[in-house]
């Protein structure tokens, strides 16, 4: 497993931030965003931001998945990923990676999901 992969351990969103922060002008590809990575703004929106950037920062007041951002902006996921990579690099949003699902998902995770579904 590479260093970049390790940064995607669940519960370590700050590590991702450090990784992206540490390579500001070099390797943007290090940010791997899933459809269900949750994005949360770190700041208030700033009028100096590009319109799409500003809109994302505003709508991510509370956590929102990459898929939801794509849906609300009516932009393809790959385009949203580019915009989010910029925002992550500049530290304007944080990313909360999906719960890691190995070949065998964590039993506690499955128990939590089953419990949640019972209330549906």
């Amino acid at each position: 497993m590479s260093k970049a992969d390790k940064a995607w351990d669940p519960g370590n969103p700050d590590r991702l931030y450090i990784v992206t922060k540490g390579c500001e002008d070099s390797n943007k590809a290090m940010v791997r965003l899933d459809l269900v990575t949750l994005i949360v703004a770190r700041t208030e929106t700033d009028p100096g931001l590009q319109p799409e950037h500003g809109t994302i920062v505003r709508m991510c007041d509370y956590p929102l998945s990459v898929a939801e951002i794509s849906a609300y902006l009516t932009l393809p996921v790959s385009t949203v990923t580019v915009l989010l990579t910029d925002l992550l690099t500049r530290g304007l949003v944080e990313a909360r990676p999906p719960a890691r699902v190995a070949a065998l998902p964590d039993v506690c995770l499955l128990e939590a999901v089953m419990h949640g579904l019972q209330n549906l």
Binding site: L35, S65, E68, L104, D106, V113, L117, L120
Partner: protein, 207 residues
Amino acid sequence: MDYKTSDPHAGPRREDILPATTAAAVKVVVVGGFGVGKTTMVGTVSEIRPLTTEETMTQAGVGVDDVAGVEQKIETTVAMDFGRISINEQLVLYLFGTPGQERFWFLWDGLFEGALGAVVLLDTRRLEVSYEVVGILEERGVPFVVAVNAFPGAPVHPVSELRAAMDLPDCVPIFTCDARDRASCRDALMTLMRYLYDRAHKTPEPQ
């Protein structure tokens, strides 16, 4: 890069906002042929009004021009419905309904990667489509359960016959389901979770 001018106030409705404590998400994919009930199932269980996300797929085109060394690329936009179920204050589940054309959804790399598993909606009017779908999931190592949607006028087969027709191993759950019914869809997801749970228990944990 060109963007469509977006609405600066785009975003979730107040009632569709997740709590700030939400730390992580999991996803489940609903697969099956066109018209089998994927959109219906997503809408039936989602706590938010279902949304649509899209991705641009690039495929190498036929008629590659070797002389010019220019490969023809065909771009297709593929849309996918999804919904959301809050599990607790920290965890949220997203349910994706794959686009109708099977040849596109398996090109969408990020879709199955990291998914807990899939619910295959089986259309007894077109078993061959589901057969293909199941083959792709097995190839990709995505765990799945099979939900048989009952359509009026569709041939009715006992589940055991369908299992044999689909070449399903005994351990893979297959059951009837109505995508329009919330409890039925919840049971389908629950069956998937129990199946994953049993698998996690049966196989010794690598230490």
